[in-house]
Amino acid sequence: MSLWQDLADSYDKNADILSSIYPISTTTISNNGDIIATIIIDGEGNFLKADKFEKVKKDKNGKDSTQPVQICIPVTEKSMGRSSGIAPHPVFDQYEYLNGNGKKFEAYISELAKFASSEFATQQIKAIYKYVAKGTVKTDLEEIAPKDKTNIIFEVQIPGNLKGKVWEDKMFFEAWNNYYLNQIKNTKTLDYITGNYLPIASSHPKKIANSSANAKLISDNDSTNFTFRGKFKDSTEAFSISYEASQKAHQFLRYLINEKRGYYCGEQVILSFTIGSIRNSLPPPLDDTKSIWDFLQEFQCKTEHEKQINLRAETGLDYADALKKSLGGFGYSKTMEQHIKTAVIVLDAATTGRLSITFYRELDRNEYLECVADWHQTCKWNLQFWSNENQKFVKYISAPTIDKIIESVYGKSRSNNDESYIKIKKTARERLLRCIFDKALLPVDYVTAAVRRASNPLGITTNGKFDRDGFNQLLATTCALVCKNYQQNKKEELKLNIELERSDRDYLYGRLLGAADKLEERALKEKDKGRITAAIRHMQAFSQHPFRTWQTIHNCLTPYIQMFRGDFALNEIQTIHKLFKPSDYKNDDPLNGLYLIGYYHERAYIEHLIAEAKNKKQTIINEEKEIENVRQ
């Protein structure tokens, strides 16, 4: 159960694939900020021509007009961590190191000479050395006009060798790696990761996550503070890690991050992966149920029934149930081995320069899936999404995404780059991740905050106007949270559909509010579309003093009551009144989250009754038509 061992092992198991895209002893350069100049030479070191990778620019639509490239270049430990000193890269380097004069060039050329004359050098490397030693780089690149910091790479055209582009040749990186290991082979030490005696790493890679590029996970340069001084004189006394293990672990981590397999928020990165494998086969932990379901479709052995579910956006489909069945059932587990381990990591940077692991969990694959399925099963509610093809809202049952939960608790981000919101979001994500994987209890303060936010619907606006759809979304998310809270604190599973017999005071008051809302909504639909219903206007006061506020709301409804005599909503209000216990009704205490559930249920129920009545009417009309046809 050690993070570093897992990463190094995973790299080893997939070495054949990873060593070509993320070889060890390398870092990457890109054309994001500058061009990359290419020098093409032949096998004897004679200049042929110069070329370049254009700098990435954005065209008018904001898209990249040139292809962004990432190229691996070999590095030494010193050169990887270089900032202002002289530390040349072994082969590919910046223009100021290759331009034929100055201290930097001399450092570069002497290192390259050693490499080229060693037993590990390939013909390409020898050719590159011959060429650069001539000192003609400056004149040869005149048309390209590189700046001092422009990266320069080489292409060597040797007849018979198809891999002209040296940076794509695996053997090139292997040659460098073997040479470097040979250089450091006399520095063997006890490796804290593997327990073997291996050459030590004198510094560790940075540039692990793009958002915190200069941050290192393992940093050993603190000579002034309290991190290890006292018992130990320097960092090599405090710990020792082998070069190979460090490179492999970091490269694997970099692979995971760069393949966009995680969630990113500011400098925080959340990853989940299967140890030992690079297949992206784990359900992403922070998504909502429907997205996870869609993700899993690739791995399913589809039964007929499941295929049917796929084909249409099924109304009312309980995705959480389906997810649980499929994760525990046949399709998923048969395609993969049973006893493999998975890990969830969260990395964050408190300061630039230091990346830290804030959460690490290693789980059996079954445990992982069980945790995810459990979360979705207990935190689900009726959600809806807009279906473009049907041009209406399609209802389904699912758990909300973690980000939606954060929005319901803290509200939305105020702008695109809201720094304080990002800080809040980071801690919230980690806290909720613990709820999923550690089975920690959902924080009560989250539930309270969400209920309070949902009780103030007039705060949900777009363009200054009350946003009914946005409010519905917030309501659904909050109901999911209330459900989960009830389940973990009171051990009661709240139903997703209305409970007509339930006589809890909060529930019934919620139902009253829902009925009043629906009643007025119907009236206003025909008359005055922009007007907000009294129920919504008074919702905040209602949640604090339901008995008093209900009188106010009911009075607002009087004009509409006369309009709709036999209306469902009106009947509902009367039915609900009968269900109250006498003392409960007069009780003016504030309501808890259950009232939102009642509110939602009542609205859904009335809609259902209306739909049923419409259908009935339709069937009667159809039957009459048929009878007409038969008669004729």
Partner: protein
């Protein structure tokens, strides 16, 4: 699965609980970020024993530890102080709500021949047991000082634990303990690594001398402090200020 522990004549057993624990992983600690191991190290448990009761006459040896609660972590952002004033920002990842049952025994420190007259096994054993009942003579902490721990006597192996039928978990290479010169007789500081394995919640520790010698690393030279009478300490019978107090009381 209850482990059949080989209890020695002078074994002690106790239970230690705490809200937080931090057994720092040395790899990331050097950077300033503390990330806890999932299970306590041998050295941390030895430190707890030494906080409960310690005399230079003997050395504590931890035989086994049993993890009762589920391993849960919690990370906090902290502002540790820098040496020259000012703050740093860091993330420390603690273990949450820990409970361990520990079984340990002691053996005489062979490198303190000057304390031969103190080698009374019964006396030390009974004092240790009384100290455990009192919760320890000194403050007990789980790994780092801010993680207060509470010691109570218990029956090792009794009660249910979260990992009772869990099977085996391999924690791979971990820090085990330090070798200080006063217990090895050699003038060097060394560290020991080992492969931690937990079976059904029990982690059995072999004696340090039985650990894999390949996983031992000598850090640097270190000498034992020599205690010499009247040089850096005095005997209480000869201490003038105490004698004055005693004559005062008598009169």
């Amino acid at each position: 699965m209850r482990l059949q522990m080989n209890k020695k004549r002078n074994s002690v057993e106790f239970k230690i609980t705490g809200r937080y624990a931090l057994f720092s992983d040395p790899i990331t600690r050097v950077g300033g970020e503390k990330f806890s191991y999932q299970v306590p190290t041998y050295q941390a448990l030895k430190g707890i024993l030494e906080s409960i009761y310690w005399k230079p006459t003997f050395i504590w040896y931890v035989d086994a530890v049993r993890v009762i609660n589920k391993i849960q972590t919690e990370s906090k952002g902290v502002k540790p102080i820098k040496m020259n004033g000012g703050n740093d920002l860091s993330y420390y990842t603690y273990l949450r709500d820990v409970e361990y049952q520990v079984l340990a025994h002691f053996e005489w420190n062979e490198f303190r021949k000057d304390l031969l007259p103190d080698r009374n096994e019964n006396k030390h054993h009974h004092i240790a047991k009384r100290c455990i009942e009192k919760g320890g003579r000194r403050d007990v902490f789980l790994g780092t000082r801010e993680c207060q721990g509470y010691v109570e006597p218990c029956d090792f192996g009794h009660g249910t634990g979260f990992y009772d039928c869990y099977g085996e978990i391999d924690f791979s290479i971990q820090f085990h303990s330090y070798d200080y010169p006063d217990s090895t007789g050699k003038d060097e500081l060394a560290i020991r690594l080992w492969r931690a394995k937990m079976k059904d919640g029990y982690i059995e520790f072999p004696l340090p001398k039985d650990c894999d010698p390949d996983l031992r690393r000598i850090i640097r030279d270190m000498t034992t402090k020599r205690f010499e009478v009247n040089q850096n300490f005095t005997l209480i019978d000869e201490d003038q200020s105490i004698l004055d107090l005693l004559t005062e009381e008598r009169s």
